[in-house]
């Protein structure tokens, strides 16, 4: 397997995430990543990508329920 390709691919991913980091920071709202800790290993599934949730609005007021912007990705561990 070509390690160079993997490396480059990894680098692209990091760059993209870095840009997104700044994008998120530049938004007037506050964010968090929800790893769905209620569904722990004990329940037999693992969250492999967190949900992006908005936790405060443009005025800095915290939201009563965080507003999801993406869905978490879960996978079962016992297939």
């Amino acid at each position: 397997m070509d390690d160079g390709a993997r490396s480059r691919n990894l680098e692209e991913m990091l760059k993209r995430s870095a840009q997104f980091a700044f994008t998120l920071f530049s938004q007037p709202t506050a964010w968090n990543f929800d790893w769905q800790n209620e569904q722990t290993i004990k329940s037999g599934s693992l969250c492999i990508f967190p949900a992006l949730v908005q936790v405060a609005d443009e005025n800095g007021e915290p939201l009563h329920t965080p507003r999801p912007f993406s869905e978490a990705v879960n996978r079962r561990l016992d297939e």
């Binding site: 397997m1 990894l10 991913m13 993209r16 980091a21 998120l24 290993i41 693992l46 993406s70 561990l77």
Partner: protein
């Protein structure tokens, strides 16, 4: 002479005119014509002497044609002359025949047999509007005999002649449908034009003031980490710095779907990367280093031990790798803990850290 009677039922009748009569005759006699498209020269008017709604006059013999120079007979009986039926005869004369739906005038003169009154009636028939619904007749056709009248027995002669001006009953509405349609379309176009002008003016007013801000904002928001943020120098003395900062420097909030899309893309990138470049075959136990896993950070959703087991296991390797990458990326999109490991530029990171410490003093999260 008797009036020509109908030998067949007129099929559909438009009310064409009415003639007002006086006592003892029915107050109003309505004349109908069969078709509005018949040229005036051949116009035919019908009337019935029953004085009932035309739908109810179902005997052909009850319908009379009003023809020029003809007589029609209408009889009435009155209490004054209880046993004396009176006869009124109408003479119909077309006076004018205008082309193209003008008016047809007829006059009816009645001569009452001695003893009652004579009535004159004049009605003008104008072109019936085609919007008037015709009255459809159904009934029997029958060849009856002429209504006969009896001659009066007495001869009290109090005769006075009255002229009454009949009322017209042409049914015509004002606006032609074609004109109405034209006016409607004109109004629609005018409204659309005005709406378009308003939108255009609004756009012109918005664009010049925020045009520059848009391009700057997108550059700033998506800038690469190494460049760092662009610092805007805002003079403190001029008015409210916050207000002018808001106007000049802050980036526009992005649409929701852009943010959702971007995070989903990152998730997919992770999936594709792991599936493309990593295998699930057995690895030597030494390959998985606990220390490296510890270095991922604190407060992982899974413990380091569990994670190392998952990585080792062929069935769960992909899941574990995706998890690791997701954790690394998302934790660095924000701030992890008190360390300085983050994707954010150093100045930003410092700023966020001090804000978080002011609020919580513990976990570094963006503003929470």
């Amino acid at each position: 002479m008797g009036a020509p009677q109908a030998t067949a039922m007129p099929v559909s009748l438009w009310p064409a005119a009415t003639a007002t009569l006086i006592d003892p005759f029915p107050p109003q006699l309505t004349f109908y014509e069969e078709s509005s498209s018949i040229s005036n020269a051949r116009r035919q008017l019908w009337f019935n002497t029953k004085g009932l709604l035309p739908e109810k006059v179902t005997m052909a013999t009850d319908w009379f044609l009003a023809l020029p120079s003809q007589e029609a007979v209408i009889t009435s009986s009155k209490e004054d002359t209880p046993s004396v039926p009176v006869k009124a005869s109408f003479t119909f004369n077309p006076l004018t025949n205008a082309e193209g739906g003008g008016s047809l005038t007829f006059s009816a003169q009645s001569q009452i047999t001695p003893g009652v009154v004579s009535v004159q009636a004049k009605a003008t028939v104008t072109t019936v509007s085609t919007s008037t619904k015709p009255i459809t007749m159904t009934g029997t056709t029958d060849n009856g005999s002429v209504e006969s009248t009896l001659a009066p027995t007495g001869s009290s002669s109090a005769s006075s002649s009255n002229t009454s001006i009949p009322t017209l009953a042409p049914k015509r509405d004002g606006i032609k449908p074609g004109a109405a349609a034209g006016i409607g379309i004109g109004c629609l176009l005018a409204g659309a034009l005005i709406a378009g002008l308003l939108v255009w003016f609004c756009m012109k007013r918005k664009r010049p003031s925020s045009g520059m801000r848009d391009s700057e904002a997108s550059t700033v928001a998506l800038m690469h980490r190494e460049k760092g943020p662009v610092a805007k120098a805002v003079t403190v003395s001029s008015g409210s710095p916050i207000a002018s900062a808001l106007e000049n420097g802050l980036p526009q909030p992005l649409e929701d779907k852009l943010i959702s899309g971007e995070i989903s893309k990152i998730s997919n990138l992770i999936k594709n990367h792991v599936q493309s470049y990593y295998h699930s075959r057995a690895v030597s136990p030494g390959m998985i280093d606990y220390d490296d896993l510890q270095a991922l950070g604190e407060n992982l959703p899974v413990s380091v031990g569990t994670l190392s087991t998952l990585l080792n296991n062929s069935a769960t390797r992909e899941i574990a790798l995706r998890f690791v990458l997701a954790w690394v990326l998302t934790s660095r999109i924000q701030l992890i803990d008190s360390s300085n490991i983050t994707f954010l530029p150093p100045e930003v990171a410092k700023c966020v850290q001090s804000m978080n410490q002011a609020e919580h003093g513990s976990r570094g999260k963006l503003f929470t």
